[in-house]
């Protein structure tokens, strides 16, 4: 059973304001979805060996180089941000975050 407190805590972790009216419904929905996905029964041995199977979706990292000229997108990216100053995004002080 997923409690209201758990859902509220997950919302905090996800940095997501949830309407109070939605919390009970989410408890119910998550319960139903997790009940459905619980059908997955994978043997412990399989859990160990499958990590050695290479699939098409294995993570692949892009070569760490410069894909384009530095600064070429700066102007249009900043223009899309809610608040900017010179070549920077303007945000609230990060450390005040801990006070909440």
């Amino acid at each position: 059973m997923i409690s209201r407190e758990e859902v509220i805590n997950l919302a905090v972790l996800a940095r997501l304001n949830l309407p109070v009216s939605e919390v009970d419904k989410l408890c119910h929905d998550l319960e139903a979805i997790l009940g459905y996905v619980a059908r997955l029964k994978v043997e412990t041995t399989a859990l160990v060996t499958v990590s050695q199977v290479r699939t098409l979706a294995d993570n692949t990292l892009r070569v760490d180089n410069t894909p384009h000229e530095t600064g070429v997108y700066t102007g249009c990216l900043l223009a899309m941000s809610p608040k900017q100053c010179d070549d920077y995004f303007v945000v609230k002080p990060i450390f005040s975050n801990d006070a909440t």
């Binding site: 996800a14 997501l16 949830l18 989410l26 997955l40 859990l47 699939t55 979706a57 608040k83 995004f89």
Partner: protein
């Protein structure tokens, strides 16, 4: 100039007319714009029609008047799902949080289509961030089915599907994470292709679940899907999961040598009678043509959807963390930085997106990771291995595309009911395989059914070959 019949027009027939210099691209674009102006308020397929489409059409006309050979997609007006970036145009993923976001660059697929002469006609409606199977989850109102306004067009690429089926464009692009190209293709009587994972670049596609997403075409014919795929596929340095597309070097089998695998027990439960009937009738036609229809065992096939609803929300919760009001979106003011994050995301994301972020956060939480995520990834790997074994016995796996025809707006009241609409399409995403949905008759009120073919990795050629045979039945 030859009068344009939008209903019967295909990319192939357009190309013939263009080569004979009997049509103008600008006339075609004007014809679509006129029809969109007449129909879109009812259908809500397009979120925006681009002003510069006519300019691009006139450039194509000039090129042809100058005696240049038309390129492979010259003057083909396309509808583009609203999660594929086009430089300078709004790309909202049908979400309030990106309602005013303008793309700083174009997706690789857009650049490749433009180089082939295609014209971007507009951006189409979708389920918010591609989360849904009906296009009801759009922040900008649902899209309607092209022939029955009480029904959904499927989703999440429902805007593109309706635009193609209602002749509001010649073809279009969607994205497919669990069936979002194939299921709306099935509901709207179209061809929909989900390419092999790694065949088409995802650079410039707003990510939903990165290990599952692929861009694919929605078209009226198999040949049209092939024409678009031939332009958009191939290695891209901006998407490291793409590879040099292998030339198969394999001779396509004669129809009498074709072996189609039907997973045992797949259509026993939860499948409407008409879908089952049309599916088995089509199998009979394949048999009559000489193909072998072979029962196969894929014991974990039914687990694919459960694995999907762990892997996908986990990736959603990570991918959507970037939308916090600092860089892309409108920001909701708060007393602290955290409060601004929470308010912006709470207001900007719709209910289904919030649900999947919370679910993803849960399955990745300490203590639940092994129980859910690790188990789901193991299921994915085992299912992939199962498919590899099956493809040593058959050339392709066949299923219905969706368990029902287009359902009514508002019919699916719980998330799980909606999720089950993807039961047949999701295995191809989980295993990274190419799959195509083909029109397969209609139900008693004229709503289309779909027939799905799944092939081994990078065997899109086989899907196109079999798809063209299917169209002859």
């Amino acid at each position: 100039m030859t009068p344009l019949d939008l209903r019967s027009l295909t990319i192939a027939s357009w190309r013939e007319q263009l080569s004979s210099r009997t049509v103008r691209v600008s006339d075609l674009v004007r014809a679509y714009k006129k029809k969109i102006a007449r129909c879109n308020s009812k259908l809500n397929a397009y979120l925006e029609v681009f002003d510069n489409a006519l300019e691009a059409a006139e450039a194509s006309d000039k090129l042809i008047m100058d005696g240049k050979e038309p390129r492979s997609l010259e003057g083909v007006p396309l509808a583009i799902k609203d999660n594929i970036l086009i430089e300078g145009q709004i790309c909202s993923a049908a979400s309030k949080i990106l309602a005013s976001y303008k793309a700083a660059y174009s997706a690789t697929v857009i650049n490749r289509l433009r180089q082939a002469g295609a014209i971007m006609l507009g951006r189409t409606n979708m389920d918010e961030f591609a989360m849904g199977s009906s296009t009801e989850n759009s922040a900008f109102s649902p899209t309607r089915h092209p022939t029955n306004s009480t029904r959904v067009p499927g989703g999440s690429s429902g805007g593109t599907a309706t635009a193609v089926a209602a002749d509001l464009c010649l073809a279009g692009l969607g994205s497919d994470t669990a069936g979002s190209v194939r299921q709306p293709a099935s509901f709207c009587g179209l061809v929909g292709l989900k390419p092999t994972y790694g065949a088409v670049s995802r650079s410039g596609l707003i990510a939903m679940a990165s290990s599952l997403d692929q861009i694919g075409p929605l078209t009226k014919t198999v040949a049209d899907a092939e024409a678009i795929f031939s332009v958009i596929h191939g290695r891209d340095l901006l998407d490291a999961t793409t590879i040099d597309y292998p030339k198969s070097g394999m001779i396509l089998p004669k129809i009498k040598e074709i072996r189609l695998g039907v997973p045992e027990g797949l259509i026993d439960d939860g499948v409407s009678e008409v879908v089952r009937h049309n599916f088995t009738t089509t199998l009979d036609r394949w048999r009559d043509a000489g193909a072998k229809v072979i029962p196969i065992v894929l014991p974990r096939l039914a687990d694919a959807l459960a694995a999907y609803y762990i892997i996908s929300p986990a990736e959603v919760s990570s991918n959507l963390a970037r939308f916090d009001g600092m860089r892309y979106a409108d920001r909701v003011a708060g007393a602290t930085l955290r409060e601004e994050y929470e308010k912006t995301r709470g207001k900007g994301f719709g209910q289904e997106v919030r649900r999947r972020i919370i679910l993803g956060t849960y399955v990745l939480s300490s203590g639940y990771y092994d129980a859910y995520y690790r188990r789901a990834v193991a299921t994915r790997d085992l299912l992939t291995a199962d498919f590899a074994t099956v493809f040593s016995q058959v050339d392709a796996v066949v299923t219905p595309t969706a368990p029902t025809t287009a359902f009514a707006l508002g019919e699916k009241v719980t998330p799980l009911q909606m999720y089950l609409a993807d039961i047949f399409t999701v295995p191809a995403n989980i295993a990274g395989l190419p799959a195509i949905s083909l029109p397969n008759g209609v139900d008693e009120v004229g709503l289309p059914c779909g027939f799905q073919l799944i092939a081994p990795p990078f065997r899109e050629d086989l899907l196109f070959y079999l798809g063209k045979q299917h169209a002859n039945f």
